[in-house]
Amino acid sequence: MTIEPAAPAVIPGAFSGAALRPDFPVFDVLTRSGKRLVYLDAAASAPKPRTVVDAVSDAYAHHYANVHRGIYELSEDATARFEGARRKVAGFIGARSEREIVFVRNATEAINLVAYSWGRSNVRAGDRVVTTQLEHHANIVPWQQLTREVGATLDYVAISDDGRLELDDLRAKLALGPKLLAVAGVSNALGTINPLPQIVEMAHAAGALVLVDAAQSVPHMPTDVAALDCDFLALSGHKMLGPSGIGALWARRELLDAMPPFMTGGSMIIRVTMEGAEWNEVPWKFEAGTPAIVEAIGLGAAIDYLTALGMDAVRAHERYLFEHAWAALGEIPGVRRLGPDDAATHAGVISFVLDGIHPHDVATVFDSEGVAVRAGHHCAQPVMLRYDIPATTRASFYVYNDLDDVEALAAAVRATQSLFA
């Protein structure tokens, strides 16, 4: 099929995804199929721009020593770069202070930190915690463990046929007086953009704190925690062009100050005697042991790359690709698309099912065309249960994608269907 070229300048600040591809070394090499790589799996993990790879390499080569310790130039240099990365993360998500940024491995660890530290000192027997049926397992299992351990109850907000949170059900669950609502900014399995401002307001009115799993939203749209007024926010660096092994928890300062440490050991203390220890200030209270120094510096470089593009432009670009891909898939018989039929509330993630063809087979045929997609339950089995499907195929877009990738996606669907016809 042919797709009309991009309409000129309908989006302020829009950029060409294809023109960014030379920034990403992964696209330099053809796939084993002999075709160019069509990478549609950013929702799982994003490729790295050369600037990030170079920042990591340069940090190891010329600026590496342990942080917060050495009384020598190299350690001061490494510390300044590591703490500089923390400031970049804070600025990127609108935190009031970099002291509210705790470096962790990924969003999963950020959520676990809250569940262990805040959860086990604030959630008691008989209390309630609310999550949703839309969540990634990372925002379900830590709450299952917490509520089981302390004898609390975990409620799930239901989702509609088109993949939206049922706000009436949310209202009903909030009326039960939970201590916390844990909710995704964007669903990794369906692409739904949740109405966070409204959700946060509803939860706060009911007296619940709000944790946002922002692993799928921070990389793809502007984030402002101060304006959003949530209480905790978790993000992963590897989904936003940064290295794996680095992520962040943001939380309001007073919450972090009151929370006990999650892991203990070196550098999270001020003083240790044989009788006990005194905790360091936040955020270092939560960063026991030598942190992922270079990974944090690499994340800072990824933030520089995204900031140069502008997050409004990134969102507009992905919305544009979504609209074309959603329409292209809709034109092909035998394709069932999941999630909201609405570009305003659907991120650049399309989950779909081909009639009579298992998603694993779909992904294998796609791979033979050089098209990388995710097939499976996307660590969101309750979502699969909701729609009575074992798995889906998921295409997810990012800055380096363009309409030629949308065409490749549609062509791969047709190739799969003809093989299985």
Binding site: M384, P390, A391
Partner: protein, 135 residues
Amino acid sequence: MDNLYRDFILEHYRNPHNKGYLDPHDLHFADSNPTCGDEMSMTLRLDPTGSKIADVAFDGRGCAISQASASIMTDNLRGQTLDEVRAMNPKHLLDELGVPIGPARLKCALLAYKVLQGAVRGSEVAWPEEAEAVS
């Protein structure tokens, strides 16, 4: 691609042999592929001596590779002793499929084997090492 989805694989997928549920049965086991969540169950009837497989059926939904693998494997089970089944080499099943299975799809190809081993041993077995190339 045509290598993996050869006609006989697709034929087994479209018209799987031994698909269903035996009632009554002597052995029953269900297991799943953690990569995709696909579940497969297997029911077996034994001969009067209780040592040989008289009939077998598998059920569940899955990809072409897992369904064809179950179809092909179950075709060869009747008349085998339980000891023979327990000693079965998963490589043999991969050979029988006769198509190149990439590391990401090995669990699809070996799910039927794992369910069968669970059934004849009475409890879940670990994935054979052939399936652990990627996990």
